[in-house]
Subunit: 337 residues, 2 copies
């Protein structure tokens, strides 16, 4: 049932119709070399006539680039990451790139696959927001696809990186609660094991307490498996069930904070009167939570553009010196504190 015409329309067909060579067609398209106005018009016409569309794979093979970058992250459905995808897709388009989304879902094997597994030529670069990558794993990396790390700094590793000063952000959040007169401040969201952002935030939390002369109470800390609503809700319930006195909660994620507020409300506690809550990330959902959530947040636009620019720079020059960018953070004060 194949049609009698060549199965695909290529430069060759266009060239025939326009009575020029394939090279000329290519030059008209790329503007790579000058083509006289008349031939250019003829080629344009032929392209239109045949509805010619360049073949991406062939062009990639030839040019050794795909125009696609991968964004690898734990879960798109987590709003913080969804916003990241949103911003990055938009920024990437402005720079002539498209975005392939890869989900690791927190699985170590998937994170490894991101670093080692992608075929050559599939993407020009990777922006990777890891959860549990160690420095060692990273240095064993064999693939040479340019990569930029996001959020979680791999200490001492020789990689481009964009993120916040998590210790300072956590300290500021905690200090904000202290400034509101709170003394019994819980912390929700540390994660075990990984050298990730969790421990850094815990450091900041404890530093702020120390500076205010407030003793650290381990009973006020709850680890969570992940960073969803449900984790926050359960963690808060656990805190309340422990019977330990508390008048504020610092959550490592807005989602955790919103989950925590859910539990507080359902137990009849008033926010912020009984318990003040502060989150992290400034997702849109927080603005419409009950009450609107105070949050400490990095400059997200800066993260997106820095990451992309770093990656593009790295693609252009693999030998460029490694750069690590720290973006500033601010506290968005709303009604929950």
């Amino acid at each position: 049932m194949r049609s009698s015409r060549p199965s695909q329309i290529g430069v060759r067909e266009v060239a025939n119709l326009a009575r020029v060579s394939p090279t000329t067609v290519s030059n008209v398209l790329s503007g790579n070399r000058p083509v006289s106005a008349t031939t250019r018009e003829r080629v344009r016409w032929a392209i239109e006539e045949l509805d010619y569309r360049p073949n991406h794979s062939a062009r990639n093979l030839r040019l050794q680039r795909s125009g696609i970058i991968a964004l690898a992250l734990p879960e798109v459905r987590v709003p913080y990451f969804a916003e990241l995808v949103h911003d990055l897709v938009r920024a990437a388009r402005d720079r002539g790139y498209r975005v392939l989304v890869e989900q690791t879902e927190g699985r170590t094997e998937s994170e490894h696959a991101v670093m080692h597994g992608l075929d050559r030529g599939m993407v020009d670069g990777i922006i990777f927001s890891p959860l549990g990558i160690t420095r060692e794993t990273f240095e064993r990396r064999r693939g040479s696809t340019p990569i930029v790390l996001l959020g979680e700094r791999i200490l001492g590793a020789d990689v481009d990186y964009v993120g916040t000063d998590n210790v300072a952000a956590a300290a500021d959040a905690t200090a904000h609660l202290i400034a509101r007169g709170r003394r019994r401040i819980a912390a929700i969201g540390d994660q075990r094991g990984t050298g990730g952002t969790g421990p850094q935030r815990t450091r900041g939390y404890r530093r702020a307490l120390r500076r205010a002369g407030i003793p650290y109470d381990a009973r006020l800390t709850v680890r969570t498996a992940t960073y969803h609503h449900s984790d926050g809700a359960e963690a808060m319930a656990e805190l309340l069930d422990r019977g330990v006195e508390l008048d504020a909660v610092y959550c490592y994620t807005d989602l955790l904070a919103i989950g925590a507020m859910h539990t507080l409300r359902s137990r009849g506690l008033r926010i912020p009167d009984d318990v003040a809550v502060i989150g992290t990330d400034d997702i849109d959902e927080g603005r419409y939570a009950a009450p609107p959530l105070t949050t400490v947040t990095p400059d997200k636009a800066a993260i997106t553009t820095s990451a992309l620019d770093l990656l593009i720079r790295r693609i252009a020059d693999p030998e460029a010196p490694v750069r690590q960018v720290l973006v500033p953070h601010t506290i968005e004060v709303r009604d929950s504190t």
Copy 2:
């Protein structure tokens, strides 16, 4: 500073090291033709030794497939779509595909670009959740990349499609409110112009009213520009400012509903006592809203898998008969009604 070795490691280099032909290397990798155990081992070893990784572009060019599908939707940061990306990325991986995310941001030109603009060979197929595509636009489509439409049915168009019966869903939502004893039911979220889901929902809303013998009151309807929190909040404010009596709101989106609840709370109205609220989509955020949001929702897993299966079927056989799938919907009753 180039190394003296060939710039790229290809089947050719592997073949040399393993003292076989490139074809054999290819066969070892693809399992396409039998290779004796001993040669297979030798090839495997050489692959390992050189850290050979197939070149995606070259393979694509040869096989005329890319293993990538595009998911085109308005905005990833809208939770409903974020969940869609999440589910689709996961489902696609199970079937050997990766997902490229394209954002139209509601711009007609972008929607056109999705249908016409993608280069051949970039993606094997497209799953497209449009906002304002008309049947006419669609039929002028020239590109031949397989496509499946999501959510918004283009009436009479000859395309694979997956969605819900929006009229019935809206009617059920409205009927649910009526069953709760409400009579003054507002509707938030219709959109002007487009032949999209908005008008369909309005039809369902009015049908349910009619069946219950409740007269339709135009002052109870508010259009919104988009479907974000802020639109819902503003629409609710406008309704209240109109001074028209109301005891329930049907929102065309959970985000609108959560925005509306925000306004209701800030005006001191109790939910559901003073005003009951029902949304659409069942996003995670609704479970943790104050109060938890009742919502009418399609079977989202079914949408994802149907869309993907339809697309894969279409890729395999472009001549397959067009199929349109309607997935069932249910009402998730929570505290807001």
